[in-house]
């Protein structure tokens, strides 16, 4: 059976949105608890090897401390730097090691970092961040079992692993950056505390996901267009007075009336230029990219994003096949 990778981001769930919004604090001790339950779930299905991303807090080390399991864990040979690049490097190494899937603990930002290099390796995301659209709020035990099901089925191409789209930021057809949920263009001058929460500073939004049940900037598109998660389309919104206003939950507990100048659904492959520069671009909730005056960037939807494990479907299919029955 193929090994499984675990990337637990020690920095997720702690940014300024705990203050400017009502985001919950996700302490690393709770991440340790979740990882323990994931490991127990993996062990129950006979997974033999697990690779951990090392981190300064030692989430993996603490999770394994005193845990009575048969599987063996191994820490990737990499020096953590305490930045999102750790998750990107770890995903690349796990992909090279041929893991069946990568379990992530983090938010949209963490999964974006992983999606940059995981290539064809499926991601199984557990939410521990703030504005989470990409990862699911799921009990760690179930996530571990679902990852075990994925490992058992890794020789085939199981239908519970689905490819999701990504937004690509391009300059002259060259990929500059990517996002799994949203690209938000704002007037914020500095990266500073990374998060975005001031609607008055936002100019335009590109969405790969626009479901009404989402939180964050994705919710604006969700409430305007109401796409389904598998629609295969994107949404482009220009912020400003003129068309309508929508009341949207742009962060936990932060419900704002957003003026909409125009919006439209766009197709994969269509390149939409970023209309105003200079600007600050936030990807999946984090200010990341400074766009200088005259810099010509565009955004496009690519359906060939990362592969994601549908946890509920994986468990249902495994149950239907009798995987959890034991001989009497």
């Amino acid at each position: 059976m193929k090994p499984v990778g675990i990337i637990a981001n020690p920095a997720s769930g702690k940014d300024i949105r705990r203050l400017v919004a009502y985001g919950s604090v996700f302490d690393n001790n709770e991440k340790v608890n979740i990882v323990r339950r994931v490991i127990l779930g993996l062990d129950s299905l006979g997974v033999r090897n697990v690779f951990f991303m090392p981190d300064f807090y030692g989430i993996g080390i603490r999770a394994m401390d005193g845990l009575d399991v048969s599987l063996e864990v191994c820490f990737l040979q990499m020096e953590p730097e305490g930045t999102q690049d750790d998750s990107t490097r770890a995903a690349q190494l796990m992909n090279e090691l041929g893991v069946a899937c990568i379990i992530t603990l983090g938010g949209d930002g963490t999964n974006r970092a992983v999606a940059k290099t995981c290539r064809n390796t499926p991601v199984l995301p557990i939410s521990t961040g703030t504005n989470n659209v990409f990862p699911a709020v799921v009990e760690g035990t179930l996530a571990g079992i679902a990852a075990g099901v994925t490992a058992l089925n890794s020789a085939s191409d199981p239908s519970f692993v689905k490819r999701v789209p990504r937004l690509e930021i391009r300059r002259s057809a060259q990929l500059v950056d990517m996002a799994l949920v949203d690209v938000v263009v704002s007037e914020a001058g500095f990266i500073a505390s990374r998060a975005l929460w001031d609607v008055s500073k936002i100019r335009e939004i590109f969405l790969a996901r626009a479901e009404p049940e989402n939180i964050g900037f994705s919710s604006i598109g969700g409430l305007l267009c109401g796409l389904t998660s598998d629609s295969g389309k994107g949404v482009h919104i220009i912020i400003g007075e003129g068309n309508c206003r929508v009341k949207a939950p742009i962060a936990p507990g932060l419900i704002r009336t957003v003026p909409i100048k125009q919006f439209r659904v766009f197709e994969p492959g269509e390149e939409i230029p970023i209309s105003q520069t200079p600007a600050m671009i936030a990807v999946d909730g984090e200010r990341e990219l400074v766009v200088k005056q005259g810099d010509r960037l565009s955004v496009a939807l690519n359906l060939e994003g990362p592969r994601v494990v549908d946890i509920a479907l994986a468990l249902r299919q495994a149950s239907d096949k009798g995987l959890f029955f034991e001989p009497q």
């Binding site: 702690k14 300024i16 604090v25 690393n28 990266i191 990374r194 500073k201 400074v290």
Partner: protein, 325 residues
Amino acid sequence: MELPKEKLLEMYKTMVAIRGFEESLADAVTDGTLPGFVHLGVGQEAVHVGVCSGLRSTDWISSTHRDHGMILARGADIKRMRAEIFGKATGYCKGKGGSMHLAAFDKRAPGCNGILGPSQTINNGIALALKKEGAGNIAAVIFGDGAAHRGEFHEALNLAACWKLPALAICVNNQFAISTCVDDVCAVEDIAARAAAYGIPGLVADGNDVMAVYEAVSETAKSIREGKGPALIELKTSRWRGHFEGDPQPYRTPEQILEDKKKDPIARFAGQLLEQGVATEVTLQALKKEADQELQEAIDFTDRSAYPSEEEMFTDLFYEEGRNV
């Protein structure tokens, strides 16, 4: 949230001025012209400038013995600052506070404390007074990761939360409490996580990024002003020099210090200003030149200033009836 160009350039100049000021003190300790304990915050300029830029001039702020940067960032007179550190009568405390116990009441910096921990409980007193005053001002206090392991940290946060005081606790986690690495004595990765125990917001910010510090402090201060009660901010940074000047630092390697220096907050802010088109190299060099010139004037002022007279020895030491401090 957004700051005008003039303010951004002023912040840069203050960071450069603090660096130059503190390095000149290191030189003075080395050549023997500055006796006594001196604790420098070289490498922590983003903390001091970001914090003070995020507060109003009518707010109050106190700190620890690593305090020069905070007082300068508060807009204190660099001449009186240097004179105080050298024990001259023209200093902020007439030369009797020195490096470790600076106070600049005109800047609402009521005192820095060499005893680490109690400053938070003292800050609660200031915050209580401000709450009763009702003018919307807050009381901020800076302390280190070592102080965050003392009882006063917990007592102060608890009482501030119970009384919903306009108090902002700022933990400057520079990784070392004298010689003890925070990783060896702290059960949680983030000291800010302890805020949850008292039902108040706690957040972590990059203490080497002045804009991140500014944003964290200004937004937190806004929340406190709105009457939402106290908050805890943890600023992760590093000090480049020893705990005190002369500290041989056997507890860390030269390589670790070099790694810390790669995160130079001044170079980082300079890069941001250039990238944003806020400044050119020429502008930044001119600001450094101005800061250097002001430092030289402070050095000359200090050299010309006299030590306090013998008669001053016992003045300003005890409470005097009728005198409003």
